[in-house]
């Protein structure tokens, strides 16, 4: 995992301390953030015809590892076969590059704006361990749902929404709908 090398710890070497020396800044205004994200999305479509993506890239990293240990199993599973069957390289795909770039970009932004910090964001009523467990469970739902829907918030809602795919808009409302329906019942997690 790339993160292990990037996690500054107490008593860490000076170069890690330097990463955290920059004064923390506020996040940009949401509308400015949206405008900038829109420019990035437009550039992606304009230059490459593809939008952005995240879960597809994670999928391919995972299939790469699976293919390393169980190539026969990958060759027998139709869903995996398409990405890594035979001598196909699951990492030879644009979305893999986008995900790698996104991690670099996120890290750079966090460093430049003084927001690199080991922490756990959670609601005041739950313990750090509960938050970790919930993050893990939520992540599993997200991963499963994203592959079922053939895209996540980035690759389907954002990208498909901008090019006016009807399925992407239906998906977007389903995501918000699912979250709002459950939000009241899990409010202790966040409030």
């Amino acid at each position: 995992m790339t993160t292990l090398t990037k996690s500054p710890r107490a008593g860490s070497p000076t170069w890690l301390k330097m990463l955290r020396q920059r004064p923390p800044k506020d996040y940009v205004h949401p509308y400015l953030g949206g405008f900038l994200l829109g420019l990035v999305l437009f550039a992606a479509f304009f230059l490459t015809g593809n939008g952005l993506g995240a879960s597809g890239g994670l999928n391919r990293y995972l299939v790469y590892v699976e293919d390393m240990f169980f190539p026969e199993h990958v060759d027998r599973t139709p869903y995996l076969l398409k990405m890594a069957g035979g001598d196909k390289d699951p990492l030879d795909d644009w979305v893999v590059m986008v995900v790698a770039g996104a991690m670099l970009g996120g890290f750079t932004a966090g460093w430049w704006n003084g927001r690199l910090k080991i922490e756990t964001n959670k609601g005041p009523q739950i313990s750090v361990r509960t938050r970790w467990l919930m993050a893990f469970i939520g992540g599993a739902f997200m991963g499963y749902g994203a592959r079922m829907a053939r895209g996540c918030t980035s690759g389907l809602a954002l990208s498909g929404g901008a090019v006016l795919s009807t399925g992407a808009w239906a998906f977007m409302f389903a995501v918000f709908g699912g979250a709002y329906m459950l939000a009241y019942f899990v409010r202790k997690l966040w409030q």
């Binding site: 509308y31 949206g34 990035v40 597809g56 999928n59 739902f141 829907a149 006016l164 899990v186």
Partner: protein
């Protein structure tokens, strides 16, 4: 220049810099997500308790910004919408998958893209979330076979845009989406005022100017309209005219004959001759299309594009077929070919099966060069020649399947 750039539609070792372009795009993506606050799960979850609707503002802000820019470029004929990947619609899996993701979002506090940004900025909850995503993705790959048919077919509509759904012009849809987003922004601000005690008087006035420019940009999409088919062809003319002149897309009757019997390929035969000629004789499985109507087939051909689909257009000779080919090429239909020498050439090769069909003079080049005893259509033997009899016909193969973009392998977008 014709956008999107063909070299960049997929990464390839032939273009090492294509990898770099996608990394740079990803870099900008991650950078913007971080500065918008999407690395922080509390900020994301606040969306669902109405205290801070950053998620909605950033997401819809990005969608409408990208959308108006994309469709202005499409309208100006700079960007080819046919080459832009529009996520294929599968209503069943998309709605159910979306609901599952909504559950994951409110429990886990991230979505896959934002969790990566959280992870690299040291958020431990993001680390556990990413591990969970990996488990979820793994579980899907291992369980997909249980409901494969549902997943592959439920609510499948192909490339199905809001314009196709509502039957309205692009500009109208773009304007409606912008107005809807602005209404949602207004509603979001009201909710933040009520639930999040946000003082709207301190919000930047610039946002009103931004909203106005969005509306103007959306209206300009209506004014610009869609580029004509001829204008689209003019953009790609140098490449396509060369392919025509080098006879790269004119396939011999023998190649078409073998393609007809190739079960691995989906063949669509478009016969652009007059109905009278079509009724006299046509190839088995051919569809008669009036040359003026060819353009109306484009949306259907784009919506149901498949990597193994081949479209062959034919006329009596090649003239009308070439014109129809150009119309389809301008609409970016992949894998389109012309029957070399048209139906006349087909009958020259296979006509010996039907002694009743006699060669006749052709007053103009694109006329039918044969006389028929009766209008039997495809009931002549030579409309579907015997595979056994012609098994060993030789030809110069020209069909090259171009896989424009195969997203089934899990590109998230």
């Amino acid at each position: 220049m014709n956008f999107p750039l063909p070299e960049l539609q997929a990464t390839s070792a032939a273009n090492p810099w294509s990898y770099l372009v996608f990394i740079v795009i990803g870099f900008a993506f991650g950078y913007v997500l971080e500065i918008a606050g999407f690395g922080n799960s509390k900020k994301l979850a606040a969306q669902f308790y109405f205290t801070e609707l950053t998620v909605l503002k950033v997401m819809f802000g990005a969608i409408v910004t990208a959308m108006v820019l994309i469709f202005i470029m499409v309208g100006l004929g700079v960007l080819d919408y046919g080459q832009v990947y529009v996520n294929t619609t599968y209503f069943g899996p998309m709605v159910l998958g979306g609901l599952i993701m909504g559950v994951g979002f409110i429990i886990g506090g991230f979505c896959p893209g934002t969790s990566l940004v959280g992870l690299v900025t040291g958020k431990l909850d993001a680390l556990f979330f990413v591990l969970g995503v990996m488990v979820g993705i793994f579980a899907f790959g291992e369980t997909e076979w249980l409901f494969d048919i549902w997943w592959q077919t439920s609510g499948y509509m192909g490339r199905f845009t809001l314009m196709d759904w509502l039957g309205l012009p692009t500009g109208v849809i773009v304007t409606a989406v912008v107005l809807m987003a602005l209404f949602m922004f207004w509603g979001a601000e009201q909710l933040e005022r009520m639930f999040g005690k946000r003082d709207l008087a301190r919000e930047p006035k610039l946002r009103l100017a931004g909203a106005a420019s969005l509306v103007v940009a959306a209206l300009s999409v209506i004014v610009i309209g869609a580029p004509s088919n001829a204008a689209k062809y003019a953009q790609i003319a140098p490449v396509k005219d060369a392919a025509l002149a080098n006879r790269e897309v004119q396939i011999e009757p023998a190649e078409l004959f073998h393609t007809m019997y190739d079960d691995a390929l989906q063949l669509i035969l478009l016969d652009v001759r007059s109905e009278a000629d079509f009724n006299l004789f046509h190839l088995k499985g051919a569809h008669q299309v009036d040359p003026a109507e060819v353009i109306s087939l484009a949306p259907e051909l784009i919506a149901h594009a498949a990597p193994n689909r081949i479209v062959v257009v034919m006329s009596n000779d090649e003239q009308a077929a070439t014109a129809a080919w150009k119309v389809l090429a301008a609409e970016a239909i992949p894998n389109i070919y012309i029957l070399e020498g048209g139906v006349n050439n087909w009958l020259t090769v296979f006509g010996q099966d039907d002694p009743a069909i006699q060669a006749a003079a052709t007053p103009t080049p694109d006329d039918l060069g044969f006389a028929f005893p009766a209008a039997l259509g495809d009931r002549y033997t030579s409309a579907a020649p015997s595979l056994i009899r012609y098994e060993h016909l030789t030809y110069t193969p020209k069909i090259v399947l171009q896989i424009q973009r195969d997203k089934t392998g899990g590109g998230c977008g």
